[in-house]
Symmetry: C2
Subunit: 378 residues, 2 copies
């Protein structure tokens, strides 16, 4: 038992779960999708629009916020929530993913990782301890450990070595999390990250060691980095088989609507991905009747609502014809409306999944949704 | 008497007026500021945010909408209101200003003006009759005549010749307005445009002839085109002296908060300007405590609210420090928040002016606001 996560129901036909997270007064229903707010804003969304759509937990990026506006500023504001005026939950990543994916100029040692800022080229050093301190200053509700995220493909010895470093960093991070006094008057929760690429043997070791150290929740990292979907599903399936039921499971960086439904089925509770927001900016809509490329000439005269299947201001109020016009005219409102729609869809996806789990009809519903999505790509 | 405009009160100390416009079920209080929605969207603003701030009348550009999405599309949607899902009033300009200001490739004749599209270089021909037809298809509540807008400075003979052409076009436009049957089931109102640059003699002739033709309202054009402010005020003052009291007066393309207050004092009822929205995108805020350049380093740590003097979601909910961070990070939310703030301020300006006119305290209040604005530029 813990006061952070409650498992409400397990599906009888699959590993899908419905649960609740309690984050400093904010209750988050799971499965949950966390919109990505890299620099302290979910791109193009007013905070109140996020809240209106039902989002109570967003992801922010430690790497970006550490570099800009910097810790001095966020400390002065008593944390990220105050700085960005967001009243609900925030999960911050460790910054590791950005350091490893954005940076050519980095140097990895046992101690940590040295990198150069993408903004001004200045040199910085992240250790497992320091990224905990940063996130304590940010005042995130959920903190992530510094890990080394392997790319795909990676050979077994390299993956093993990397996973072992991640494990040693996990121990150091956890220790520092317990020792470092935060001035933020809230309860912060720490997640461990399972690495090991697609090798079950490595995932097994990593899982087992992380469980020994003990964390509030467990993330699965190192997936959605280019591997075939089948391997992502197999690895996720393997991990959730070995994760404790009384802790939330978070699959990092995933994914498409299909990915999310399949991984909910495999027992994942938490997701984050740039897909709905990034693709919105490129004119790709996710709707209850499938994907839509809004620039397509066939929508020029379309009086069809953006998404009749969703009840919210944007889906029900604007037509495809108008939205196409806004994209062709390069208007900012195009991005605002498309982002709103895509996040409305993603929240519909996970909240409906939750309802169906509670009703015992998850699998049947999931298969219909995925079929419908496959048959309707416009 | 007419059912389009009611003059409610005239200020005893100045020519300021409070009134009401009635546009197909939408009541618009004057003085009014109309945000510019060039391509069928007030840049970066959700429609509901405009409504929430109190805006019931926006300006859209005939030139842009005629070129994209084109009349075929808007006709298919039964007008611009439906196409853009805007429930309140729309004024459209005639397109003349864009033809004369955006286009190098144009050819002016007695018949009309030929120009090339800024989008694809295609050739088009606007006549006084055709721009009426376009606006009838758009279904605008208020239509503007095609006029020739002179630049500044312009010599007397050129200004005279131009004004005379504008007058001949006004006669043709009015005739066509009455004859051309619209399929839009609403009452449309037509405004004449007074030209004549800074020459009172020309303005006088133009005014007198336009009044003979007879319009629902009168716009003052050819100002805010680079002339000294004093000449803009003098010309406006002269025009309003000769305009009928029972018709609304619209000063086109004006202006700064100071300009607007001074011209309300001179008897203007309607304004439009890109300033609040364009400057928002450049990081200049208009607030009740003065102008703010939000990129200024002095706001890095500022916990000050964007504008404590205004009651709305954005002004009261976000800090200068956060907004500065959003601008430096080139986030879309920066533009959304700044635009929201500036339009909140502009609506506050004209609605408060109206209140003060009704209370008989306009002049005193206006002087305070302008003084305050002069002393607080940050």
């Amino acid at each position: 038992m813990n006061d952070f996560y409650i498992l409400e129901k397990e599906d009888s036909e699959s590993k899908a779960r419905a649960g609740r997270l309690f984050l400093n007064g904010t209750e988050v229903l799971t499965p949950v999708f966390m919109p990505v707010g890299t620099q302290g804003t979910v791109k193009a969304m007013l905070h109140r629009s996020l809240t209106e759509l039902g989002y109570k937990l967003i992801l922010c990026n430690t790497y970006h916020l550490y570099l800009r506006p910097g810790l001095e500023v966020i400390k002065h504001f008593d944390g990220l929530h105050n700085f960005i005026s967001w009243r609900n939950g925030i999960l911050t990543d460790s910054g590791g993913y950005q350091v490893f994916s954005l940076q050519e100029m980095r140097k990895l040692t046992e101690e940590g990782v040295e990198f150069r800022s993408h903004i001004d080229g200045s040199s910085h050093f992240f250790t497992p301890e320091f990224v905990i301190e940063i996130q304590k200053v940010l005042g995130s509700d959920i903190l992530m450990l510094l890990d080394e995220c392997t790319s795909f493909p990676v050979d077994f010895p390299t993956a093993k070595k990397s996973m072992e470093l991640t494990l040693r960093w996990a121990g150091r991070g956890k220790k520092h999390f317990e020792e470092f006094k935060s001035t933020i008057g809230k309860t912060q929760y720490l997640f461990g990250i399972v690495q090991g690429s697609i090798y079950k043997e490595l995932r097994k070791i990593c899982l087992s060691e992380l469980l020994n150290i003990g964390f509030d929740g467990y993330a699965i990292g190192g997936l959605a980095v280019g591997e075939p979907e089948e391997l992502m599903y197999q690895t996720t399936d393997f991990c959730t088989d070995h994760l404790p039921k009384d802790r939330p499971r978070y699959l990092m960086g995933v994914g498409t609507p299909e990915n999310i439904l399949n991984c909910i089925e495999l027992g994942i509770d938490m997701f984050d991905c740039v897909l709905p927001t990034r693709n919105a900016r490129n004119g790709q809509l996710f709707t209850t009747r499938g994907k839509i490329n809004i620039r397509n000439a066939k929508y020029k005269f379309s009086k069809e609502l953006i998404d009749e299947g969703l009840r919210n201001y944007v889906s029900q109020n604007f037509t495809l014809g108008y939205l196409r016009h806004l994209f062709l005219s390069q208007e900012i409102l195009a991005i605002e409306l498309a982002t709103f729609q895509n996040l409305a869809f993603y929240n519909w996806l996970v909240t409906t999944a939750r309802e169906k789990i509670l009703e015992g009809k998850f699998r049947q519903w999931k298969n219909c949704v995925i079929l419908n999505f496959k048959n309707n790509n416009n």
